[in-house]
Structures are given as C-alpha cells and as structure tokens.
C-alpha cells in the first residue's frame, strides 16, 4: 500500500447511479514476478466492503473475486491495455480501462460501487461468483445458492435435494427426520456444519429442517474430500451452511402460508454504525405445519380386528411440527482491530410429532420429540493481523441442548386416528408397550463446547500456509422418567472430546492456471464412560462409578488441484484418505444387546477420489452454456461392522464391533447450465453411482455372491432440472415476474438385499412450479408455489409417502440499505 494514490472524479454510467472512485498507483516494492498484479478494494457508498464482486479482464481468463473485506487481486497480468469488468449482485456492472505499461508492477485499483435499484437479476451474479471461486479450488464441491429460493416457499432441504450428487431423505413432512446421502455415503459419514461449526453444537431445533433459506448466505457441499478448514471426521463429505453476515444495513421479512396449515416466517435485520463499526444482526424464524397430508396405497391400511386389511386414504394425524428460533449478533465489523468481531446468542425450540417408524404401515399417536438449545458464540476474523498476509479466525461456542422424546400412549391406532379394537371390542395394547417401543419420557441433556481457530499466512501471492485447530466436547446425561427412580440412578454418562489439527499448503501458480492445496489432518478422540455400579463391601452395598476412558488418534491427508487446461476447460482433481472415528456404541458395545466392548477398534478409513472438469462459459449472442462433470470413487476399508454370532440367542456375551467391512462407491455426476440473456436459465444435473458390497472372499476363499452387488436402500440414479424465466415490466413498469419449474427424477431401487419387486421403490417423477412477482420498488415480492403438481405418490424412504400436491403463498418484504 505504499503506492501513490490518485483519486479520480466519480464516473457516471447509464442512469448515473454508479459512482466509481478509483485509486491507482504503482507499488514501489516490486514482486519477483514477470507480470503485473492488479489489486484493490471494492466498497459501497457507505464505505462498506463488498464481498463477492467478480473482477475480470475482458476477453481473458484473468478473474478474481473480492473477499469479505472487499479486497481482490489478479495476479500475473501481462503488459498491455485492457478493460476491467466488475459485476456484483445489487450493484450495477462497471467497466474501467486500465493500462499496464510496466512489468512487475502492482496496480492498485479501488472501486466504489453504488447499489442498483433496477437489476435484481444481479442476485444471480453474486451467487455464481462466490460459487465459482469455491468451485474452482479443485474440490468436488457444490455451492447452493439461496437468494432466489428465499423468495419462494422452499425449504433448505429441498434446495439441497435439487443439487447434483445429494439425496435428502426425509421421513415424512416438514420437520421429520432427515438423512443425507452424498455420492453413495450416508448416515454419520456425512457431517453438517453451520458456519464451520458442527451442527451438533446447535441441537436438532436449529437444523436444516428449521433454518429458512432466507437466513442462509450459501451452502457448500464438499463431496468426499473436505478442505482443512472444515475439520471433522467426515468420511463421505460435509455440508457447510453459511449464515448471512450482517455487514450491510438491511431489513427483510417474509411469511409463507399454504397447504397442511403450513406457516413459515422469518425476519432478518442488520445495522452497522458507520462511525464506530458497531454492528447488530438479528434473525429469527418461526415454522409450523400440521403435515396432515393425505396418504394412500399399499402401505396405508387399517388392520381390522381379525387381522384383515382395509386399504384407506387417510390424512396424517400425528405429524405436526413447530420450530422457533433466532440469533442475535452484536459486535464490530471492519474496524482496525477486527474485520469481524461478534458475540452471539442462538436460541431455538422445536416440537415434532412422529407419525410412524421406519415404515408408515403402522401409524403412531402421541409420540413426539421436543428440543431446545441455547448457544453462546464468539467470532473473530482479522486479515493481516500484525503482519501482512497473516489472517486469523476464531469461532467458538458453548451450548446447552435439551431433548425429550415422549411416547407413552399404549394403544394401537388406525389411520383414522382411532383406537384399533380387538375381537372382543376392547382396544389393543401396542406389542411393545408404547407406540414405537417401550414407554419413554427420555430427557437427554447435552453440554457442548466447540471451537475452531485458524491462521493462514500468505508467504507470497503464490504460496499460502494454513493451520487450523478444532475442538469439540460433549457431555451427555440421560433420564428416562418412565423408568423407576432406582433405575434412573444407574444410568451411565458419556463424555466425548474430539480435536482435529489440520495443516494445509495452498498454491496458485502459472497465472492462476494451477490452483491447489495439500493438507494433512490429525484426529484425536477421547470418550469417558461412566457406569454406576453396586459394590458390596463388608456387608454393605454402595454405589460406585466405574469409569473407563478410550482414546484414539489417527491421521488423514489429501490434496485438491485445479488446472485450467485450455481456454474454458478446467480440470479438477481431489483425493483424501478420509476418516470416521468409531462411535461410543461401537467402542464400548452394549450390555443390553450382549455386545462386548472393543477398545482396540480402529477408525473407518475411506480412500476418496474425485476427478472432474468445468467447461465454459461458452457465449454465443445471448446464449451461454457451461458444462461440468465429476467421476468419483469412495473405497471404504475397515468399515465397522458386527459379525454374526451363532450364539446370538445365547445368554453369554457376543461379538464386538470390528473393522471388517468393505464397501465401494463408484459413480459420476454431470451438470449443464444454459442461460439466455438474463431472462431464462436452465440447469440440468444427473447423478448415478454404484455403491457396492466390497468384501470379496469368505473364510474358504470363495467369492461372495453379493460381492459387487448394489447396497440396498440407496437411491442411486437421480436427475434434477430447474428452469426459470423472468418477464420484465409486467402490469407495472419496473416489476419482475419470474416463473420457475423444477423436475426431479429418482430411479427405482431395492430396499433390501433380496431383490424382489415387493421391496423395490417405484420410479418417481416430481414436478414443482412457482411464480414470483417483484414489485417495482423492489421491496415487496409475492410468490406462489405449487409443489408436486400431479399429486404423485412420492417417497424418499421406502414405504414413507411424502406430501402430495400442495400450494403455498409467500410475501417477502425487504428494505435494503436503510440508514
């Protein structure tokens, strides 16, 4: 920053709403490069930095995107005259002619952009820009945009479900249990983060079920290979939800109402005092739904007293969901000592009725869960701390999470919500005492402490080092009030600590043609188990606590590279030796199920490889095409399984969990994007994989018949298509009408190892349409969404029907940039 600064007069373009303040200068300190560097900061009219602005040199591959502090940098710029183009959501596009006449120069160009009031389509541009920055780092990553969806009645899980390679599997309507499948890996192989912290920090009430897209900046989905800064033992991938940051003054609110008495509303406000940098951000949501949608077909039947079936169409009657939550951030942004410093409180509460278990063939009444969480957080972010190129961040939180599962209703119910009557006219007791199992009022209390800290140092523009540390600790207490007081005294506790240290080296070479990173991770996990016991000594019995600690550690490593081969073609490759630490149950076994402990159990390891390309954009007149594709392998070794024990019916203890399984998933996904001007956009993605049983030989050296067989109950072939068309000046000049259509296809799959038609899901075709009308003042937008247009039976999970046709109306109100 030692260059001389020259201020030019603001330059008015078109309607004259853009002010450009640009600084230029020459660095007195030359870099050891043969070409120039163009860098600078981009600010709005309130001197706030604008992140996510695409800065590119016209007709060249040189591109940069401004970071959180508004700074950008284009390296290795050759000598000559060129035009610099800037584009960003909410701001008008801007261009500037620049002359670089000295080699090895550093050209400082700062810009001041003024907000656009006409080009809401700019929303798309910003989404894409951050998206493309992340997506060209070499990882197999998908960045999900939320801006447009935020105006519609679409849940966060729906957005994820429309993304290539992700299958969201929800056990019913809004609020019901969700499992994520990433390229054939699911369950606890896929970890979810909110702003880089594990979602278990927040509890189930603040989850992808409850957080509306309007509060989310973007969602990054890393498949198989996870960058060093997102530290967890995520074997198959990670979903990182980035909440909106409150650096720009705004207020927005929306409310949506529709079928099944579904109400979804949210509020988001941010205020920054320019003089002091004091920043406040408040966001809140409230969702509720009866989820009383109609179900029918072969899984929906009332069982008569004599056991015969009576197939019915019925409305779900025990599936209501309500969640409320909010977050307050208080702190400073873009001040001398911090780019961001926030103290935050996140509170949330939910109530979730459970209509059925794994299959909907038996309806439940009165089973429900509630959860509350209180989370205190601290965020600190500073670039160039003390020395130039040293960036630090810290993110920490303390949380208290309470969950209660209640299931005390002891009678059988039919699909009309009535008690089933037996042959003698009496109600029939549930076969295990309550709706799902034994009667329970189980209170689970967790105290969680999470932090992650990272520091990166840019040795020079080509080389960067990153060191990260994350720590997670959780202690859990459980009290089932359906158990006797004595029994409750003898419930054990489990404390878990996990820490992950990661080190990465990033490079950016050959005029940004080659970007990449190499990283290593060190995982540590400790579990304390305390089981109360009765000990007899000198004739008296006393309660003692039997404590055992099990620690393990392991290392993983990986790399991700992207190389811009020719023109628009970029090749991406990434690989990681990924790790999943064994769970408490897998280590300590379960005395109740006769499973003995295995303190020597090792983590699951998976060799994950992605190889992909990005091709585009190809522009021809107003038509723009781009293509991308990725092939992947997930080769999992040491999978934790429990071998069959021929003495399962014996009283003696049985086999522990062992590292004996092997699975392999091979597949590909591809995406085509097409835009016509800024009115039509279409995205088509296809994902197909073969997730197979990979244990080859039995003890006699013979090949298992299911070696290479598709693992059951995984949707392995999906197609998603999204299209939207924007009409301008409808009814009133300056308004926008956006029509959208979504189509999803899920191929049939077997749900059990036995490949028979009865255990195979149907092929599914899902159509949603929507219309969003934005009024000329851009403050009010109204949307209407018609989901599952053809009222098809839709299933994420076998024998669990999802909602049929549903209509929602949503009002959005935004005041941008108030002062």
């Amino acid at each position: 920053m030692k260059g001389m600064k020259i201020t030019l007069l603001p330059e008015y373009i078109r309607i004259g709403l853009i002010t450009v303040l640009f600084f230029s200068g020459l660095a007195s300190q030359g870099q050891s490069l043969h070409a120039a560097i163009v860098k600078g900061k981009i600010l709005d009219s309130g001197s706030n930095p604008i992140p996510g602005v695409i800065v590119r040199i016209k007709d060249s591959p040189y591109t940069a995107i401004s970071s959180v502090d508004g700074s950008y940098q284009i390296k290795n710029v050759p000598k000559g005259n060129f035009e610099l183009l800037l584009s960003c959501m909410g701001y008008q596009e801007h261009s500037k002619n620049v002359v670089v006449d000295v080699e090895e120069a550093v050209v400082q160009l700062d810009f001041l952009l003024t907000e656009s009031t006409t080009d809401l389509e700019g929303v798309v541009v910003q989404g894409l820009s951050v998206k493309s920055e992340i997506e060209t780092k070499g990882f197999a990553v998908e960045v999900v945009e939320t801006q447009k969806a935020a105006l519609q009645s679409i849940q966060t899980n729906d957005l994820l479900n429309r993304t290539a390679g992700i299958r969201v599997r929800q056990n019913g309507g809004i609020g019901s249990r969700v499992d994520y499948n990433l390229n054939g890996m699911s369950g606890n192989s896929v970890k979810i983060f909110i702003d880089g912290l594990s979602i278990s920090t927040y509890g189930s009430s603040f989850s992808l079920n409850s957080i509306p897209p309007a509060l989310i900046e973007r969602i990054e989905v890393y498949k198989g290979v996870i960058p060093a800064h997102l530290a967890d033992d995520a074997l198959g991938g990670a979903i990182n939800v980035i909440l909106k940051k409150g650096v720009v003054n705004n207020l927005s609110a929306s409310v949506s109402y529709g079928s099944f008495n579904t109400l979804q509303s949210n509020l988001n406000a941010a205020y920054r005092d320019e003089a002091t940098g004091f920043t406040t951000k408040v966001s809140a949501f409230y969702n509720s739904s009866d989820n009383d949608y109609e179900v029918w077909g072969k899984f929906v039947r009332n069982i008569l007293a004599n056991g015969r079936y009576d197939y019915v169409r019925a409305k779900r009657f025990n599936d209501a969901y309500r969640s409320v939550g909010g977050k307050i951030d208080l702190g400073y942004t873009n001040v001398k000592w911090a780019d961001q410093f926030f103290l935050s409180y996140t509170g949330s509460d939910d109530y979730n009725e459970i209509q059925h278990g794994t299959y909907m063939s038996i309806p439940y009444k009165g089973r429900f869960g509630t959860s509350q969480s209180h989370v205190l957080g601290l965020t600190y972010l500073k670039e160039d701390l003390g020395i130039k190129g040293l960036d630090v961040n810290f993110n920490g939180s303390l949380s208290k999470i309470n969950e209660v599962v209640t299931d005390t209703v002891k009678w059988n119910y039919n699909w009309f919500g009535e008690r089933s009557l037996g042959l003698n006219g009496d109600p029939i007791l549930r076969p295990s005492g309550a709706q799902q199992g034994a009667p329970t009022m189980n209170h689970i209390d967790r105290n969680v402490a999470t932090f992650r800290a990272g520091a990166s140092y840019e040795i020079n523009p080509n080389h960067k080092l990153f060191l990260g540390q994350s720590y997670y600790s959780m202690d859990r207490d459980e009290q089932d009030f359906m158990k006797s007081a004595v029994e409750r005294e003898f419930i054990g506790t489990r404390d878990l600590q996990k820490s992950i240290t990661s080190l990465s080296y990033e490079l950016d070479m050959l005029q940004s043609k080659l970007k990449g990173s190499v990283f290593g991770k060190y995982y540590y996990q400790g579990i304390d188990r305390m089981n109360p016991m009765l000990v007899e000594e000198n004739g008296t019995t006393s309660r003692v606590e039997d404590r055992v600690k099990s620690n393990r550690n392991t290392t993983g490593y990986g790399a991700a590279f992207s190389y811009r081969l020719i023109g628009p073609l970029t090749i991406l490759a990434s690989a990681e030796k990924a790790v999943r630490m064994p769970s408490e149950g897998e280590i300590f076994g379960s005395p109740g199920d006769n499973i003995v402990e295995n303190l020597g159990i090792r983590p699951e390891i998976s060799d994950n490889l992605n190889l992909g390309f990005i091709l585009g954009d190809f522009e021809h007149r107003s038509h723009t095409f781009s293509f991308s594709g990725t092939g992947f392998i997930r080769d999992t070794q040491d999978k934790i399984i429990q071998q069959i024990n021929p003495r399962i019916n014996d009283a003696v203890q049985t086999n522990p969990f062992e590292n004996l399984g092997k699975t392999k998933s091979i597949g590909f996904e591809g995406q085509v994007k097409y835009t016509f001007g800024n009115s039509f956009r279409a995205i088509l993605n296809v994902s197909k994989f073969n997730s197979q049983y990979n244990t080859k030989f039995d003890s006699n050296g013979n090949v298992y018949a299911n070696y290479g067989q598709q693992i059951p109950n995984e949707p392995f072939f999906t197609i998603n298509s999204s299209m939207d068309y924007t009409f301008r000046d409808v009814v009133k000049p300056g308004s926008l009408l956006r029509l959208s259509h979504y189509f999803g296809f899920v191929d049939r799959f077997y749900t059990t190892w036995l490949e028979i038609e009865d255990f195979r899901t149907p092929r599914q075709y899902i159509n949603d349409i929507g219309a969003t009308y934005t009024f000329p003042d851009r403050k009010l937008a109204v949307s209407v969404d018609l989901r599952n247009v053809f009222d098809k039976q839709v299933y994420d999970n076998f024998a669990v029907q999802k909602p049929g046709r549903a209509l929602y109306v949503k009002l959005n109100y935004t005041i941008g940039n108030f002062r």
């Binding site: 034994a438 158990k483 069959i644 298992y704 028979i756």
Partner: protein, 456 residues
C-alpha cells in the same frame, strides 16, 4: 451307492404299504402303538411321506455378514423322491423363489406338504401371515388374502403352527417388561416386580383370520419377583394330546432390583412353561420343573413337541449345566422324575440345543453345539433310555452351524434335514432313527455366506 439303492427299494416297499395304511388315520395310529386320542390332535408327523409329497427347502441369504441370514430367504420345492435321491442337485439360491420377508422368513408347512405358511419377520409387512400353494420348483402361488397380526403380536412375531390338521397357528408376545408395570403399578413406588403383558393369539390358518386372543400378566411368586426374575419372552407353543391346553415355552430374565440393570449371570429358577386353556386361551398358569433351569422357548424352531407316548418333550437352552430334555405329562404338569442331561449323556460341557425333533419310538435328534465352539453336531437321543450320541457320517466341519435352523421333516422312522457348512455345498441327509443309519439325499448347491435353514 449301494446304501442309496437299498434305501430306494425300501422306500418303494414302504410306499406301497403306506398307501394301504393311508386309507385311515386310525389304522396308522394303531400301527404306531399310540393310544387312542382326540381326532384333532395328531402327535408329530409319523407317517411315511408319499413319493410325490413336496419337500420345500429353505435357504437364507447373507446380508452384510456371512451367515447372518439377513439377506432374505429363498424356497424351492422338490418331490420327496427327488429330495432323498443323491443324484438330484438342488440350487435354491439361484433357482428358488424369494419369500417376501425383510429378514429370515418364519415358515411352517402343512402336514401334507402342499401349503407353506409364512409370517413376515420385520419390515413394512412384518406380522403379515400369508399362505402359499406349493406347485413344485420355484412355483409358489400366494393366496390373495393376507392377515396381519402385528397389532397384537408385533412386527417380529414368534409363532408356531399347531399339529391339529393345519387348523390353527399360535402367536405369542410379551410387551413392555418393566418395573412395577401393571394396571395399578407405579414405577415411582418401591420396587415390587418386573412384569410384562403377555398376548396369546390364535390364528385360523384355513379361514385366514385371527380367531381369538387374550392378554394377561404372568406373575411369578412374590419372592421371585422381588429378586428381579421375569418372563422376558414366550415362544414355542404346542397343543397337548387332549387338545384342551396350550403349553408355551418361556425365556427368563433377571434384573437387579437395586440398579434396574439386566443381569448376565444369576441363579436361575426352574424351567417354566405357561399353560393356558384351549381354545379359550383362558386360565394362564405357570408350571415349573425341578429338573432343569434353562429356558424352553427355543429360537427359530419349536422345541416343545408332543410325542407318540403322549408326553410333551421340551429341550432347554441357556441351562446352567447344559441343555436338558424335560417332559410334561398328560396332566399338564412337569414329570419331575424325568430329565435327560445332554452334558451327562454325551460327556460334554455346555451343550446347547439349537433345534430338535422327535421322530418315533422314543428317538429324537438334536442339533447342538457345545463348549466354546460354534460347530454344530447332530445328536441322536433315546428319550426312553436317556442316552445320546453324536451321529457319525455327517459333515464334520467347524463351519457347520444350526443356529438359524427352522424345520426338519419326519417320514416314518426317518428324519430328513439339510446340512452344509456355512457357504459350502451340502446335502439332504436321511437319518434312520431306529437303525442309526445315515443316508445322503439330494445335493444342495450353496453360495458363500449363505446357509440352509430347513426342509419343510
């Protein structure tokens, strides 16, 4: 080879005489020396099987682990003639018909071998009873009426067909075993008992409907309950010879009343059997053996069997000193003068009966393992002499397992069962109860990780 030919000649002779005998059941019973009995209740099958009787073989696929049987069940039917013919090769896993059941199906067969009864175990259709007409090979035609017993007995019910002319099946369940758990109980009060709610359900196999059910608490003695003993599970119902009582096996557990934890080792009570009136299902009473302390619930096959001498013989498991054979007389009480200890009779320790079958004239066969080994053996038992010996001439391989074995066939004095080491080819074997001879029948083609679970 010679053996086989001899057998086939014998078979033909038997077959001829069988046809004459089959003119009337009474004649058959007289010829077996059984006492006169109620028409409805025949002791275990004791007639010679017809050459064209269908023999349905069942095999369990592996799920994720070899031998777990969680991959489903295939069935395949051949004629009895073919089943006992060593020239026959049967490939159940490639050529058979899958049974609609998430996990291993719980199958039963009609006495004539022509109808298969299944109750799906677990999954979306758990508890669903269905009937299949056996047409040979993989051709099983399902009757379109089904009935679901899951509301009464759960989606993973334990059930057994009664030997009363394929009229009824009995399913049993114990729900919600918990402390002070009765209508007027209170878990917050001082501990009194662990008790669940028992259900006994009568399924009409012919009409395909539930014909009766009863629920009750099954209290033990106050002392036993205060110590934490409880009936954890019911299984293996059998009808007595008079046809007026059901005898149902129990699986006992003990909790530590001071902690609520399940105990893994404890001083066991005497083996208990539940007796209820039939067909009313009323008047539940528990009878207790003084001769053994194991459970008499069996696992995948019925361990309580009515013999041609009118006694119900039962095999115990989890017995403190190895499995025993006990018997219950026609007065529906334990014959506490009788017990066959397999440990003593075989000179082994910790024998464990996975399944057993009464054949005729006091001879039965048990599938056992012993000590720490998992290997399965076949044991011939003389219930009258209280002796037992391991049958020789069968596969002697550490991978032979019988833990999921469901069904044997009896033809006259012969026991027919499939045996193979886990994941390896095997055979149908014919064990001649009176001569202790072993004959090989059809060859069974296996696949790695899979096993055969019975002949029906």
């Amino acid at each position: 080879m010679l053996n086989t030919n001899t057998y086939r000649i014998m078979f033909k002779n038997f077959n001829l005489s069988k046809r004459l005998l089959s003119l009337g059941m009474a004649a058959a019973l007289v010829s077996m020396g059984a006492r006169v009995q109620d028409d409805d209740v025949t002791p275990e099958e004791e007639e010679e099987l017809e050459a064209d009787r269908w023999v349905t073989l069942a095999g369990a696929f592996m799920g994720e682990n070899a031998g777990d049987g969680n991959g489903g069940t295939n069935i395949y039917a051949v004629s009895f003639e073919d089943a006992i013919n060593p020239e026959t090769e049967i490939d159940i896993f490639n050529n058979g018909e899958p049974v609609k059941s998430n996990r291993t199906a719980r199958l039963q067969v009609s006495q004539d071998g022509g109808t298969l009864f299944n109750i799906a175990y677990g999954g979306e259709n758990g508890g669903e009873y269905s009937k299949f007409d056996i047409r040979g090979g993989a051709n099983f035609v399902q009757e379109d009426v089904t009935v679901n017993i899951s509301q009464y007995a759960g989606t993973s019910p334990r059930w057994s067909k009664l030997y009363n002319g394929d009229k009824n099946g009995i399913a049993v369940n114990i729900a919600n075993l918990a402390a002070n758990n009765s209508e007027e109980g209170n878990p917050e009060e001082e501990f009194k008992y662990y008790r669940g709610t028992a259900t006994v359900l009568d399924l009409d196999l012919q009409e395909t409907l539930i014909s009766n059910y009863k629920t009750y608490e099954l209290p033990l003695s106050t002392e036993e309950e205060l110590a934490g003993h409880a009936i954890f599970r019911l299984d293996a119902p059998v009808l007595n010879q008079a046809g007026d009582k059901l005898l149902i096996g129990t699986w006992m557990r003990k909790y530590n009343p001071a902690t609520g934890e399940r105990e893994t080792e404890w001083d066991r009570l005497g083996t208990k059997t539940l007796v209820v009136d039939y067909p009313s299902l009323e008047n539940p009473t528990l009878i207790t053996s003084t001769q053994a302390d194991g459970d008499c619930s069996g696992y995948r096959s019925n361990v309580n069997q009515l013999a041609d001498d009118g006694y119900i013989y039962q095999a115990t498991t989890r017995n403190s000193n190895g499995s025993h054979i006990l018997r219950i007389g026609s007065n529906n009480e334990y014959d506490n003068t009788y017990a066959l200890s397999l440990d003593d009779a075989l000179g082994l320790t910790d024998t464990y009966v996975d399944a057993w079958k009464y054949v005729s004239n006091g001879i039965g066969y048990a599938l056992i393992r012993h000590g720490e080994e998992d290997q399965g053996y076949v044991v011939r038992m003389d219930l009258n002499q209280k002796t037992a010996s391991i049958v020789q001439g069968l596969p002697d391989n550490p991978d032979v397992r019988f833990n999921q074995f469901q069904s044997f066939l009896v033809s006259g004095d012969d026991l027919i069962l499939p045996i193979s080491p886990l994941g390896q080819d095997g055979n149908i074997y014919i064990l001649h109860s009176q001569t202790n001879q072993v004959t090989k029948g059809a060859k069974l083609i296996n696949q790695p990780g899979n096993h055969f679970i019975g002949a029906f």
